[in-house]
Every structure is written in structure tokens, then in C-alpha cells.
């Protein structure tokens, strides 16, 4: 298994910025499919629940929205853009090309001193996820699911799932996570998603090395990755360009890094249908990769393939 070093330092604070809410919370869950009672709301449902597990009152953070806006009812699925059939595969680079948004003095000083490791930067030790937004861009597909008040996006890379509260509001005290705390709503045919509360060590691209670009298959990756600020906020706008093409634009707000909002490169995804449209699982740990990070030299060392093969065969022999 790759033993790769996480690139980012931890400086994230705990304060969260005030954010506009897109809906009003309520305590009563909405009906289930086809007008059936909500799960657990009937006497039969109560009998079917394991009696040894006490029922808990819903947390304020998990209440369903009372909104009647698009995406709040089962029947809305027929009115939504079809994000849901099959899955979506990125066909654009996972790195931003030639980002030009001005850096703050602090971020520029960081970028000027940045020394990349000779490695693929998105693969942390143990295949640790790079988090948003990179995790959605790595080439393996995204799969969308819907329920009233929720759109989930399964990300094949990492086998992680984003849960976006549709017409809901952010958690009152969101804990940091690699995918963030996300709310969304529809503006016409666009699904607009706002995410906050990110882990301090997501892979966060500031800019590129001046004049070097980011050509394919070049190591080290010629981008500067650094820590983000405590109020980092990402706003995505997702829409279909045609039945099999999806576009995601992304604007990143972090005034500790940029002097104005950062507009990321537009990402294009193509729809896989049929068998290809079924997501796969993602588990790392085979130990088959000869590239191994060496913290002493701060670069990844390519081991002799014969040595790696011996280790794999020894493992098989046990």
C-alpha cells in the first residue's frame, strides 16, 4: 500500500461564518413514497422496530424541511432534471489549469515557499480521501440518488457519499468533514449546492507554479496545495447540458487565501448507462503499488517491482 504523506498543514479554526438558510426545519417527517406514512410512524412500524433499541428524538440537525420548493416531495422526482439515471464520469482534469485569482499576502508567502513532494498529491496514506472538491474529479463516477429533502451523491473514488439537504439548512454546529455540510436548492434546472465545514486537511489547490502548467503525467504535480481558512465555503451549480452531459461550476470563498472569490475550472461529466452506470466499491490496501513515500527525502520512492512481488507472494503464502 502506498504510504503517502498528507500535504496540508492543520490550521483550521472552529468558528463558522453565518450562512443564509435555504429552508425552515420541522420536526414531523414527510410522508413516504406514494403517500404512504413515513417510516416508523405507524403502529405496525413501531412493532417491527427492535425493542431493545430506544427511539431517539430527532436531532435538530436531521429534521426534514417544511419547504414546498422543488425537491421536497417524492413526486418532485418527475420534475427534476435527470441527474439520477446511470452515473457521471468526469472527463476534465482534476486540477485547475492556470488559476489566476489573486492570493492574499499570507497565501502568496505560503505559495512562494511551497515545496511539492514527488508524488500524486491526492492519494493520502492508506488511500485517504482528498475531500472536496478534488474527490469528485478523479475520474471514477458519481451516482446521484433522491429522496424528499435529500440528494445523495455516491463518489466511487473513496466509496464516500455526499448527503445534500435539499431546501434544508446547515447543521447548527457542523463538525468538519472531508465532504462538508451541504445544502442545495433548485434554480430552474440548476441544482445549487453550498458546502461549509471542511476538514483541515482536504487537498486544497491555491494556484500553480508560475510558468510550469500542469501537463499530464508529470510529477510532482505542478500545483500549490495549502491550508484553507475557517470560513471556507464552496458553491456548486450543477446542470445538464444535454441528456448525457453534466456541468458543474464551482466558486470557492476563502478570504484567507484569495482576495476575491475563486472560480474553478468548469467540470464536465459524461453519463454512463447500463452496467457501466452501476457504481463500484472502492477499498484500498492491496500493497501492490511500488510507489512508497519516504518522509526523510520528502519524495516518493519507486521500489523495485521484484521486491514488491516478493512481498505480495509472501502474503499469499501465509
Amino acid at each position: 500500500m502506498k504510504n503517502r504523506k498528507t500535504l496540508l498543514a492543520a490550521i483550521m479554526g472552529s468558528a463558522m461564518m453565518a450562512l443564509p438558510s435555504a429552508g425552515i426545519a420541522q420536526a414531523v417527517p414527510p410522508p413516504g413514497p406514494a403517500g404512504s406514512p413515513a417510516p416508523g410512524s405507524s403502529a405496525q412500524g413501531a412493532l417491527e422496530r427492535p425493542t431493545a433499541i430506544p427511539m431517539q428524538a430527532p436531532s435538530p440537525n436531521t429534521m426534514q424541511p417544511a419547504s414546498t420548493a422543488l425537491g421536497s416531495k417524492w413526486s418532485d422526482v418527475t420534475k427534476l432534471p435527470d441527474f439520477f439515471a446511470g452515473n457521471w464520469q468526469s472527463v476534465t482534469s482534476f486540477l485547475d489549469r492556470e488559476p489566476k485569482t489573486p492570493l492574499t499576502p499570507k497565501a502568496k508567502a505560503y505559495a512562494d515557499a511551497f515545496k511539492p513532494i514527488t508524488d500524486i498529491p491526492f492519494a493520502g496514506a492508506g488511500c485517504k480521501t482528498p475531500g472536496m472538491p478534488t474527490i469528485q474529479r478523479l475520474g471514477s463516477p458519481l451516482k446521484f440518488f433522491f429522496e424528499p429533502g435529500m440528494i445523495a451523491i455516491y463518489i466511487e473514488n473513496s466509496s464516500m457519499t455526499r448527503f445534500i439537504k435539499v431546501n434544508g439548512k446547515h447543521a447548527a454546529r457542523p463538525n468538519p468533514s472531508y465532504l462538508g455540510d451541504s445544502i442545495g436548492h433548485f434554480e430552474g434546472n440548476e441544482f445549487v449546492v453550498e458546502s461549509i465545514a471542511f476538514a483541515d486537511d482536504i487537498l486544497f489547490q491555491y494556484t500553480n507554479f508560475p510558468g510550469k502548467g500542469t501537463s499530464r503525467f508529470v510529477l510532482p504535480i505542478e500545483s500549490v496545495f495549502g491550508p484553507h481558512g475557517p470560513n471556507l465555503r464552496m458553491v456548486e451549480r450543477m446542470k445538464l447540458l444535454d441528456p448525457d452531459t453534466m456541468e458543474i461550476t464551482l466558486t470557492i470563498y476563502d478570504d484567507t487565501v484569495w482576495t476575491k472569490p475563486y472560480v474553478a475550472n468548469t467540470q464536465i461529466f459524461k453519463r454512463n448507462r447500463g452496467d457501466a452506470g452501476i457504481p463500484a466499491e472502492w477499498v484500498c490496501g492491496s500493497g501492490a503499488d511500488p510507489l512508497e513515500f519516504d518522509p526523510v527525502s520528502n519524495e516518493s520512492i519507486m521500489q523495485d517491482p521484484a521486491d514488491v512481488l516478493k512481498k505480495l507472494q509472501a502474503k499469499d503464502a501465509k
Binding site: 482534476f94 475520474g139 473514488n157 499530464r216 503525467f217 457504481p279 466499491e281 492491496s286 519507486m302
Partner: protein, 105 residues
């Protein structure tokens, strides 16, 4: 990335895995010495979408691999295609790493 090599040999290990799959083969050089090559392929899910299967290769199979070799001189490369003894060709296709992903230094 433009230079390609073609290596024929015997499968020692085919590892169907994430983040990428690896094929290890034993080959014989012109002087008779043997060496081990490691070839990197895509993730298991993406290879499956490209028509590959974990059972396509097993230890002892004869294969010919076309690949982009590592620039550091190691016997490592990024798979473009694998020709099986049956004549079937497995192309990287979707299984190729996405733009911006490197095969190793």
C-alpha cells in the same frame, strides 16, 4: 508519456485493486537474464467499465504488455494495452488514469 514499450512475459501476479490495479510479469532479456516488470492499470471499477475482468489473467499466463515506461529507469510502466494468449486485447480505455494523474516518477 509518448514513448511506448512492448514487453512479453509470464504473469506472476495480477492484482485487481484500488486506487489502481497492478500486473507483475516475468520476462527474459536477450542475454537470458530474467527480470520482473510491474505495470499499472486503472481502478478496479474503471477497468470493469472498460471490459476487463479480475479473471482475465492468472499466474502462468503468457501476455504482451504495451506501456509507457517510467522515466526513472525502473522496470515499471503505465499500461496502454495487454494482449492475452487467446489473442484478446485489453485496452486501457476508461481504465486509464484521468488527466493529471501520473503513473509514478
Amino acid at each position: 508519456m509518448t514513448r511506448k514499450i512492448s514487453i512479453s512475459g509470464t504473469v506472476e501476479k495480477w492484482v485487481w485493486s484500488n486506487p489502481h490495479s497492478w500486473l507483475y510479469i516475468r520476462t527474459t532479456k536477450p542475454g537470458g537474464a530474467q527480470e520482473i516488470w510491474g505495470f499499472e492499470a486503472g481502478s478496479a471499477g474503471m477497468l470493469a467499465r472498460s471490459g476487463w475482468n479480475s479473471g482475465d489473467m492468472k499466474t502462468g499466463d503468457k501476455v504482451t504488455v504495451t506501456a509507457s515506461p517510467s522515466r526513472n529507469g525502473r522496470t515499471v510502466g503505465l499500461i496502454s494495452e495487454v494482449k492475452l494468449a487467446s489473442g484478446k486485447v485489453l485496452g486501457a480505455g476508461f481504465g486509464a488514469p484521468p488527466p493529471g494523474v501520473a503513473p509514478g516518477n
